[in-house]
Symmetry: C2
Subunit: 221 residues, 2 copies
DNA sequence: AGCGGAAGTCAACAAGCGTTGGCATATCGT
DNA sequence: ACGATATGCCAACGCTTGTTGACTTCCGCT
């Protein structure tokens, strides 16, 4: 279900967490020029993929290391060896980029529809945001992660398109409340009416809301 | 933190779950006239209160029966004795009533502000909705409970005030997406901008959104 | 070829979980 | 006052969890 989502999906594989006891080799390899790919990269990637899937469908607590390892068809101990602990594995798995488009050359009156359309092309068929949401609801570091993502990524994107910079965080928060609300009801809770609405209709309904949160004059009631 | 919220808060105490092995006494008491209060009602209520608190802050998995029992200052086995199992305890604890006001005599152009204002007076200082949300994110029966609540309670309330009955579920879903989105970002994830906005400002921002979801003509973009 | 280290397997640990049954105490009907 | 019954505590069960260490297998290098 989880598809290519993360920056390093099939890349040179994620770095192991800081605390992980790793075979010492760092000084033997040339410092510059990038780390030579290791033989275990495929396994690392498989673990990460399985972890995202499990965290997505089960949440942090119910997603067991044993289940993740079984999905990746390796031993549970390998998960610890490569990622240090369950908490660090989650931190790595939950790392993601909204990859918001550059909104600065979008006409001001089309910001809503562009942002909403983008979020749907990003979310439909990609389970990583629901995954993060699911775990953020019960796991403190998951919640912290969501706060970071929306402060850093959505916050800065919104800051570039609002009229009054001082209003940016508030407007970004409102946008997040509606967009995460849709993600929650459609992908996590699966409220039937929200699941049934075609994306195109949803875009029509939501765009004016986001447009208003972004661009409406400050005192609008 | 959790305050008087549930219908039976200090009432004659919740009925134990069906499967719970209860001392057999039913035939000794008069069938009609209501069950005489039992001596253990205080304990039952304490368990339920502690359970709501724990489920609210920790979610289903992290909220352990032992912790709940410790909060209620009784033995873990009592929780099972009175509520049958953890799952049944949760089912009882998560039972709640939105207690939506009657919207049928509200002027059509004020539905948004009335509904939003009501939800804030209901949620601020009441942790039971965040509790439900937190558990619904990872627990299947929690999610089912939210679906029921919003289909039955919000769904029917909305159905009475929309123009075209066929559009009612969709409009209710949109309303839920925004209101639950606020609950999620403000109370569960605690995104700083959403936490900081005073309720009055939030009402000003959200009311037009809800108003539009409820009353805007069908094809509005 | 042979050695070093990485990759992977296996069994086990300590801790925590929900749940159970037995046993002591308190309360109430008679 | 006595027996019945409700109430509560204690200790333990079977199980699952994250995590660890020892052991074997495989690959790459000199």
């Amino acid at each position: 279900m989880t598809e290519g989502v993360l920056p390093e999906e099939a890349g040179p594989a994620a770095e192991p967490a800081a605390g992980a006891r790793r075979p010492r080799r760092a000084d033997a390899a040339p410092a510059a020029g990038g780390p030579r790919p290791r033989r275990s990269d495929a396994t690392r990637a498989a673990i990460l993929r399985a972890a995202r899937d499990r965290f997505a469908t089960d949440g942090y607590d119910r997603a067991t290391i044993r289940a993740i390892a079984a999905d990746a068809q390796i031993d549970p101990s390998m998960v610890i060896r490569y990622y240090g602990s369950k908490e660090e594995l989650f931190a790595t798995a939950a790392e993601f980029d909204l990859r918001l488009p550059d909104l600065s050359d979008v006409p001001a009156d089309r910001l809503g529809v562009v942002l909403v359309s983008y979020f749907f092309t990003r979310w439909e068929g990609d389970s990583s945001l629901p995954a993060l949401l699911r775990t953020a609801c019960t796991n403190p570091s998951g919640a912290e992660r969501v706060r970071e993502i929306f402060a850093d990524q959505l916050g800065t994107a919104v800051a570039r398109v609002v009229a009054d910079p001082a209003q940016a965080p508030r407007r970004a928060g409102l946008v997040a409340s509606q967009l995460l609300g849709v993600a929650l009801t459609r992908y996590v809770l699966r409220l039937p009416p929200m699941v049934d609405i075609p994306p195109a209709d949803l875009i029509d309904w939501l765009s004016p809301t986001i447009q208003r949160y972004l661009r409406a004059p400050a005192g609008t009631a």
